[in-house]
């Protein structure tokens, strides 16, 4: 038997114990005791129960709700996924045409250019955010459907817009689930 076999097996077992058991359990211990909410998926609770994770998008299609990004998995969080379609794929063009059509049908007087994130699918299929421009694009439709003034809805968007971290990291964005819950008057 080659001399390397014993140390190979013993060290694999010991390193498995250290990096595959002790390390993740240590991180789990620290994370669940210090940041319990974040470690368990940043769930949002209300009187009726858990209404979602603030990090995982949900599907909205009523005219009185803000719509999130198109999702290749229809926001089924059991299995994340993207369209993986290239920019010249005819199926992508057809899907975008249909999405623009749906937006125009819901709000025929819209004149603003269609924000890209509202008609192009996200990477995860679970993107919880839209851009502030995508939210503003929908403000009139939402205001009408809810019998509210457009200014009121725009103010709500403004209040729910998260800026860049440190002024440079990431993009300004609005959490769709939070915005819709605020719109419905949830605390």
């Amino acid at each position: 038997m080659p001399r390397a076999i014993r140390p190979a097996i013993v060290l694999l077992l010991l390193l498995t114990g250290l990096t595959g058991v002790v390390y993740p359990l240590l991180v789990t211990g620290v994370a669940t005791s210090l940041f319990s909410r974040a470690a368990h998926g940043s769930l949002m609770r209300s009187r009726v129960g858990t209404v979602g994770s603030e990090l995982v998008g949900q599907s909205f299609s009523a005219p009185g709700d803000f719509w999130g990004r198109p999702s290749a998995v229809n926001y089924d969080a059991r299995s994340s996924g993207a369209s993986n379609m290239g920019p010249l794929n005819e199926d992508l063009h057809a899907a975008v045409r249909a999405r623009i059509g749906a937006l125009r049908t819901a709000d025929p007087e819209a004149t603003l250019p269609v924000p890209a994130d509202l008609v192009l699918a996200s990477g995860s299929g679970l993107d919880p955010h839209i851009s502030p421009a995508a939210a503003r694009y929908q403000a009139r439709r939402v205001a009408r459907a809810r019998g509210r003034s457009e200014a009121e809805v725009l103010a709500l968007i403004e209040a729910h817009t998260e800026g860049r971290a440190l002024g440079i990291l990431g993009e300004p964005r609005v959490n769709v689930l939070r915005l819709n819950r605020a719109l419905a008057g949830a605390p």
Binding site: L11, L12, T19, G20, Q58, E90, A116, S122, G170, R173
Partner: protein, 577 residues
């Protein structure tokens, strides 16, 4: 390219270099066995583990023994991951009650993680139990990276030794790299990620009540959403730091529970290149001339920065075909990207993850614009030497350094030298093997795949983009990257086996010649630099080295790229002047 994107890229490079300097020094101390604070703390653990394994850390190995240890250790790791997947339904920590993984997929995944590739033909949340993810995959994330560091240190030693028959002790190098470099960094990063929203729990998936019931593809109505949880932060930290890249979830770091905020995104993106950049400086210190380390790092940046610019610019554009439909182009190409990152940070990640042989993604490369997709593809094809894998990137770059001095030697008719070692026929042969093997695997593999029905069946996009999907897949596997044009349906018998084979060639087909090279270099006498010696820390050498990498990569792959992304780019702009 906008000013914001420019500032982001500048900040990234600046922070990366600022962190690489102290880390490079730390790595040099612990890998040379010098005393450190961490060493005092974990020293008893290191000695205890080696004693239990019956290893005398002072016992030096010949290159053949060192190679045998690497291969046996990796073989057992591979078998362990295979076994865990096949038996996961009988093992604990499987709250979603997932069944055993199919043999061909289990083989592919085992090779993928042992070889530091972390190609994902599986979807994490639907295929693997918490136990398999922790005990199997997290462990391989550590030890495959530590293997890379060990081989690099052995090569660095070879340059400093004269007429020596040995290149160090693999077991000591392996344990030190894990305990003193990978584990402490991962702990810090994992806790930081968990603080900002990355999940870390052993609890089963959470069920939440949907605000609006969802209609499934077959018309079924769902009132609940399942939020998949698990010990993710601990695995994500090492998957980024160890240039592994295998995500906890199917869509990797695009998943909002794996990468929830722009801050976690920046940290994960920094971790992609941190150790590979630091090891350049470690190498300089180990061979006793820090300038050599800076020269290697400089050559890497010389290739990285222009390609980063190209990718960020490309993704800032929207295809004219989509603009024509009425889409606002100002935010760039957002198909397959997340709003919280935007186009620039997604392009930065794509460039960094393929410069490093990491392969984690925060956006879907398959949906990138043609030139934006060309950048990651080509960065893999040059052999993963621009930063590259932990350890493996730098030993690959050192091979290119040997080729660079060899070419310079040919031009002036002198025997080439690198770091005082004469570079002769054997060394150049080994260097050629290292360059040729993965390139051949990419091109032959792609040719076989597109020639046969089994290979073409996996393609999802029509036209030349479909060819790009296959070329990208083989480039990724044979260079141990692991990212994908994920439209490729890679979980088939053909791709599981062919890509598995490419991963083995790309990893061990390089480690063996590199260690042989180390053995040969250690045996040589060191020659003092004379007036005719080309300095290898000068800007001229940095340029020469970068040019050799670019030329070899271009000569080998431009014909293939011309059939894929280049044609697609022309199609995109050609029909819309």
């Amino acid at each position: 390219m906008t000013a914001d994107a420019l500032v982001l890229c500048g900040l990234y490079v600046g922070v990366l270099v600022a962190l690489a300097i102290p880390l490079g020094n730390h790595c040099a101390r612990v890998l040379a066995g010098e005393p450190t604070l961490l060493g005092k703390l974990l020293g008893p653990l290191e000695r205890g583990m080696l004693r239990a394994a019956g290893v005398d850390p002072g016992a030096e190995m010949s290159w053949r023994d060192y190679t045998a240890c690497v291969l046996w250790f990796n073989l057992f790791g591979l078998l362990a991951v295979y076994g865990l997947q096949r038996l996961q339904h009988l093992l604990p920590l499987n709250p979603q009650e997932l069944g055993p993984v199919a043999p061909d997929l289990a083989f592919n995944t085992a090779v993928s993680f042992a070889s530091n590739t972390n190609w994902q033909a599986y979807g994490g949340e639907t295929t693997l139990s918490y136990f398999t993810q922790m005990v199997g995959l997290t462990t391989q994330n550590f030890v495959s990276a530590a293997t890379g560091i060990a081989v690099l240190v052995a090569l660095a030693r070879a340059f400093t030794r004269r007429r020596a028959e040995t290149i160090g002790n693999f077991w000591a190098d392996l344990v030190r790299a894990t305990l003193y470099v990978l584990l402490p960094l991962s702990l810090v990063l994992a806790v930081a990620l968990a603080a900002d929203g990355v999940v870390q729990t052993l609890a089963p998936a959470a069920e939440v009540e949907l605000v609006q019931p969802a209609i499934g593809p077959e018309g079924q109505v769902a009132f609940q959403q399942t939020i998949p949880l698990g010990p993710a932060a601990s695995q994500i930290a090492i998957k980024q730091l160890g240039t592994n890249g295998g995500g906890f979830y199917n869509v990797n770091s695009a998943h909002p529970l794996e990468n929830p905020t722009p801050v976690t995104n920046f940290l994960e993106c920094l971790a992609l290149l941190l150790i590979p950049a630091a090891l350049c400086l470690t190498f300089g210190k180990l061979v006793g001339d820090r300038r050599q380390g800076w020269a290697l790092l400089g050559a890497m940046f010389a290739i990285f920065v222009p390609l980063l610019g190209l990718c960020v610019w490309s993704e800032g554009q929207l295809a004219p075909q989509l603009v024509e439909l009425g889409v606002d182009p100002s935010a760039g190409n957002l198909e397959g990207k997340e709003v919280r990152f935007g186009a620039a940070a997604s392009a930065l990640w794509a460039t960094a993850t393929t410069a490093a042989s990491n392969g984690s993604v925060n956006a879907m490369h398959d949906s990138f614009n043609p030139l934006g997709g060309l950048v990651p593809m080509w960065l893999m094809q040059v052999g993963e030497v621009v930063f590259g894998g932990v350890g493996s990137g730098l030993y690959g770059m050192l091979v290119f350094a040997l080729l660079a001095v060899f070419l310079a030697g040919l031009m002036v008719g002198r025997t080439p030298e690198y770091l005082g070692k004469k570079i002769e026929a054997f060394e150049v042969k080994m260097a050629a093997l290292v360059v040729l093997l993965p390139s051949a695997a990419v091109l032959v593999g792609t040719a076989i795949a597109v020639a046969g029905a089994a290979g073409r069946a996996g393609v999802s996009n029509p036209g030349v983009h479909g060819f790009s999907e296959v070329l990208y897949g083989f480039s990724s596997a044979a260079n141990n990257n692991g990212s994908a044009f994920a439209g490729l349906g890679a979980d088939s018998l053909f791709y599981n086996l062919s890509l598995g084979l490419c991963m083995l060639i790309g990893r061990y087909g390089i480690i063996v010649p590199v260690l042989a090279l180390a053995g040969a270099l250690a045996r040589k006498q060191t020659v003092p630099p004379g007036p005719g010696t080309m300095p290898t820390h000068s800007p001229l050498f940095v340029f020469l080295l970068a040019a050799v990498v670019v030329l070899v990569g271009a000569l080998t792959f431009v014909p293939a790229l011309a059939l894929g992304p280049i044609v697609e780019h022309l199609q995109m702009i050609g029909t819309h002047p």
